[in-house]
Structures are given as C-alpha cells and as structure tokens.
C-alpha cells in the first residue's frame, strides 16, 4: 500500500504544530502553577519557611490523588469539568485543560524535590540575614535549585509530549491523533512510524536543550 503524501502532508504539518502548541502552552501554564504548588508543598513542610501542617497535608493528599491517575483515564474522568471550563471536550483547546492540570501536579512534585536539594544551611543563612520567606523563595531557593529545576521541567516537557499523544486517542488533535487516524486505523505503518519519528525528534531536541541549559546553570 502506498501513502498519498501530497494530501496527507498539510494535515501532518498541522498535527506537528498542534502538538508543539499543546506542549508549550501546557509547560508554560502548568509550569507556573506547578511551581507555585511545589513551593507551597516545600515551604509548608515541618520546619519549613512557612510551616503549616494542615495546608501541607491537604496539598500532599491532593497531589497524591491526582498524580498517579493514568492520563488517558484522567482525561475522561474530568471530561465534565473540561466541558464546563472550555465549552468542549474535543480539539486542541479543550485538551489543554486536563493537560495543564496533570502537568501542574507533576511539576509540583518535581519542584518540591528540587527545592529539597537546596542546602538548608544556605536557607538558614538567608534567614539570619533578615530575608523574609518570599525573598528566600525568589532569591535563594529558585536560583540555588535552578539546575535540577531545569532538568525537572525538561522531564515534564517530555512527559507532556507523551500526554498530548495520548490525548489524541480521546478527542485531542496533534501527532497522536494523526498517527491513530491515518496510521493505525488505515493499517499504514509508514504514517505511524513517521509520526513516531517526529515525536522522538521533538523529545530529543527538548532533552538536549534542557541538558544544555542545566549545564549552564550548574556551570559544568
């Protein structure tokens, strides 16, 4: 069987852009929300800058409930919410809603772990110099954890690309949808493989970029 690339090519290009758009928007919004949630998880711990047992417990339980749900199930489970928020459950825009939420929770743990790696002595030094909790978050925690944070965000970006592909199976657009519709359903392995190749290239590119940035932050 031969593939008619002349008709498929524009669709393929659109699919690439849709995947990129979903991944980038998700990592931006989910990244910021996840940073806030992760900082909250870290600072409200016992002995933390803004120690608060109750808040910490609630946040932890929430993250522990949401994070382990397989994304394909998560998308369908919160479909009613998605419908409320985005007015639809299909298409690139609609799928952003579950993507951002899933990314937020994933990022929050990564951020928390990165912040744990910051030398507590350095935090104490900043406290001793009279820095307030928010000043410490901004001027000590984030800069000191920048290397692991960049690597963590890269990891999440790769996971988001993966999630966008899954989203293709349940009403999303992008390369996942393209591979399923034009490859899997038509038994056209060439199309599937090319979609896979593009996803791999995307992931490699992101990983190289992330590694380079992290090296720069760590001066190694």
């Amino acid at each position: 069987m031969t593939t008619d690339w002349s008709t498929l090519w524009p669709t393929f290009q659109t699919a690439i852009w849709q995947t990129l758009l979903m991944a980038v928007v998700t990592i931006l919004i989910g990244g910021i929300l996840g940073l806030i949630l992760g900082v909250a998880l870290f600072t409200t711990r016992g002995g933390g800058l803004m120690e608060n047992r109750a808040v910490n417990t609630v946040l932890n339980v929430l993250v522990n409930i949401v994070r382990p749900i397989p994304f394909i199930i998560f998308v369908t489970a919160i479909a009613p919410l998605t419908l409320q928020a985005m007015g639809s459950t299909i298409g690139t825009k609609a799928v952003l809603f579950p993507l951002v939420i899933a990314a937020t929770f994933g990022v929050s743990r990564i951020v928390e772990q990165s912040l744990v790696s910051v030398d507590p002595g350095v935090i104490e030094a900043a406290e001793a110099m009279g820095a307030g909790p928010w000043q410490i978050v901004r001027s000590v925690l984030v800069p000191e954890a920048l290397g692991p944070l960049i690597l963590g965000y890269t990891f999440i970006f790769v996971a988001v690309v993966d999630m966008t592909a899954i989203a293709g199976a349940v009403g999303g657009d992008g390369l996942g949808d393209f591979a399923i519709t034009y490859g899997y359903h038509r038994f056209d392995w060439a199309v599937t493989w090319i979609a896979v190749a593009v996803i791999i290239a995307l992931v490699q590119l992101a990983q190289f970029g992330g590694n380079a940035l992290a090296r720069k932050a760590l001066r190694r």
Partner: protein, 356 residues
C-alpha cells in the same frame, strides 16, 4: 560601625555595657514533658566590645544558644535581650529588622553556589535595598578588608575553605552589625587556616569594634581570641569567667577536661601519682600569669629558706593578651622553709596540692 541595633523606644532594659543578655533561658525541643531539654536555665551576659566564647562538647546546646540570640530559635522560657530590645517574643518584620543588624558566620560557610563572591557579599545589601553603585562600593570595601578583592567574580566552589569563610565573614559584616555570631566558624578548617580566620575575627573585633560571640568545641580557639568564656555542658552553663581565670583555675570537671586538652602543662591524675611515687618531696602545682614573679620567688626560696626546687612538669600557655604558666615543683628542704616558699608562691599565683 557602631550604630545602635535599635533606636531606643522607651526605657533601656539593660545597662549600657551589656549587649546581649539571656535570663533563665530554657529551650525544649518537642513536647514539653517528653521533649529534649537542649538548654536548661541559662543566664549569660555578653558585654559590648568583647569576644565572648561558648565552649562545650557536641550536643551541649551551643548552636541552639547562639540561634536564640538572632531569633532563629525561640526560647521555651526565659528572655533574650539584644541591645536593650527583648527579642523573645518578636516575630516577622521586627525580628527580621533586628537580624539585619546581627551578622552570623557558619561552620559550613553556607554561601550560595549560584552567586559569585560579589553576589554573596552583596546579598544582605540587596535585602537592605541598596542601589548597585552603593553595593559595589561596599562590597569592594568588605572584600579588601578580608583580603579577597581579586576573587570578587569567582564562584564559591573555586575557593579554599579559609577563603570561603572569609567571604562568609565579609557577608556577615555587610550590614554594619554591632554583633557577630560565629558558630564553629573554624571547625571545618585546618590549623593554619584556623589561625588566619581567628586573626581576621580579632581584627573585626579590634578595628571595627564589633562584639563577637564565638561558639566552639576547642579550647585552643577560646585561648586565641576570647576575652571571656562560658562552659556549656548538657544545656547548662557550668562555668563563666575570664579566659585567664577559667584556664588558670578550672572549677568544674568538664572545664578541667577542656583545659587539659589544650593546656598540656598540668599533670593529670595518673601522672601526678607517678610523680608522687618518684619524689619524696613536697609537690605543688603553681599557676601564674606572670612567669617573672615565679622566678624571683623561687630564687629567693633557694637563697633565704634553704629550699631546693626541681620543675617536674609544666609549661606556658599563650592567651590573647597574656600567658599562663603552670609548673609542678618538687620542693626539698627544711619544713619551715618549704612552708615559707609555698606562702610566697601563693602570693605570686595559685597553688594546688601542697601535700608532703
């Protein structure tokens, strides 16, 4: 460099020469009844302009004590007063304002890896809201004071331990403090570097007039820079006094062990027993701060009382401004002569163990 830590608001709680006062301070970690009592009813007074040392073994509560002085830790009971301000119940902004006027130096230096030497020293200045030009002037001043101006643009990981600690000291001085807290500031350093850092701390005290609280587990550190010292044992202050008095005549067992470890010139119990067996004569240990006085007493004893003496143990220990000599002597001669010699020695110093 001596602006008051706080503008006086009302009556001064402490007399002017006391900068820090701890009154009946206890600190319990965990629940009150089953918790760990890290500090137990501590009273201390640190005078303006002095170098005050707190010595104790690991776990004695030294770090807890020093962290109470800048409010990194809160007392369970008792009060901490810094420059007339009761900081015991201060929280949030007013506490942070006080902290900006107290410098702190750490055992592990605690410099930010993500910032250059300049960035680290400038950090407290940024907190204080200084502009870039002012920051540069002040950092240059501080780095020349600690002798690291040429390292301004390097990162801490490229520095030796001693250099890191000098950056730590420059950073602690940035906000023009009246008080510097140094928690085991030389414990991670080799002996040579320790000497350099201690010399720098002395300059901080003498040239800038900054009061320093030095926390250590080494009597050598106390000896080299401190004026007065408190000995902490299991959360209690067992002895306080001038370094000379404590080293010359340690009272508590803990203090005696610390002194023996640094001063090597007093025979321990075993050695003393051996000496008693070896000498039939009167054995006395005399501790003096002026070795010349001892010399004249001994030569007079030989001439006037017909007493021979032999130095069987001893040595001289250097302190910051003076030295302490401790000598164990075997005195030989007529009883009255020996007694007269012991009397004369008592006038020159402290005499122990005049047993025949």
């Amino acid at each position: 460099m001596t602006a008051p830590l706080a503008k006086s608001t009302g009556e001064a709680v402490v007399p002017p020469d006391t900068l820090v006062r701890l009154e009946s301070v206890s600190k319990v970690f965990g629940k009150d009844d089953e918790g760990h009592r890290a500090l137990d009813d501590v009273d201390l007074e640190i005078r303006r302009g002095e170098i005050f040392a707190v010595i104790g073994y690991s776990g004695a509560g030294k770090s807890t004590l020093v962290r109470l002085i800048n409010g990194l830790e809160q007392t369970t009971s008792g009060t901490v007063t810094v420059d007339g301000v009761d900081i015991t119940r201060l929280r949030g902004k007013p506490l942070r304002a006080i902290r900006r006027r107290i410098g702190m130096v750490f055992q592990q230096f605690n410099l930010m890896r993500s910032r250059t030497v300049f960035g680290n020293v400038a950090y407290p200045l940024q907190l204080a809201g200084l502009g870039r030009a002012e920051q540069e002037d002040r950092v240059a001043e501080l780095l020349s004071f600690v002798g690291l101006l040429d390292k301004a643009w390097t990162y801490p990981e490229e520095l030796s331990g001693g250099q890191k600690q000098r950056v730590g000291i420059a950073r602690a001085l940035a906000s023009d403090p009246d008080l510097l807290l140094a928690d085991e500031s030389t414990s991670a350093l080799d002996p040579e570097t320790t000497r350099e850092v201690l010399a720098l701390l002395r300059r901080v005290n003498e040239e800038l007039g900054i009061t320093i609280v030095v926390i250590t587990h080494e009597m050598d550190v106390v000896r080299a820079i401190a004026d007065r010292v408190a000995v902490l044992d299991s959360g209690r202050v067992v002895e306080t006094g001038s370094v000379r008095d404590i080293l010359g005549a340690p009272q508590s067992e803990t203090t005696q062990r610390f002194v023996a470890a640094t001063v090597g010139n007093r025979p321990n119990a075993d050695r003393l027993q051996q000496l008693r067996e070896a000498y039939d004569d009167t054995l006395v240990t005399v501790t003096v701060t002026d070795e010349r006085a001892l010399g004249s007493v001994l030569s007079a004893a030989a001439r006037r009382h017909g007493v021979d003496f032999e130095i069987v143990y001893g040595g001289i220990t250097d302190l910051k401004h003076e030295s302490i000599g401790s000598f164990t002597l075997a005195l030989r001669g007529p009883d009255t002569g020996v007694l007269a010699t012991v009397d004369a020695l008592s006038a020159a110093g402290t005499v122990e163990g005049a047993t025949a």
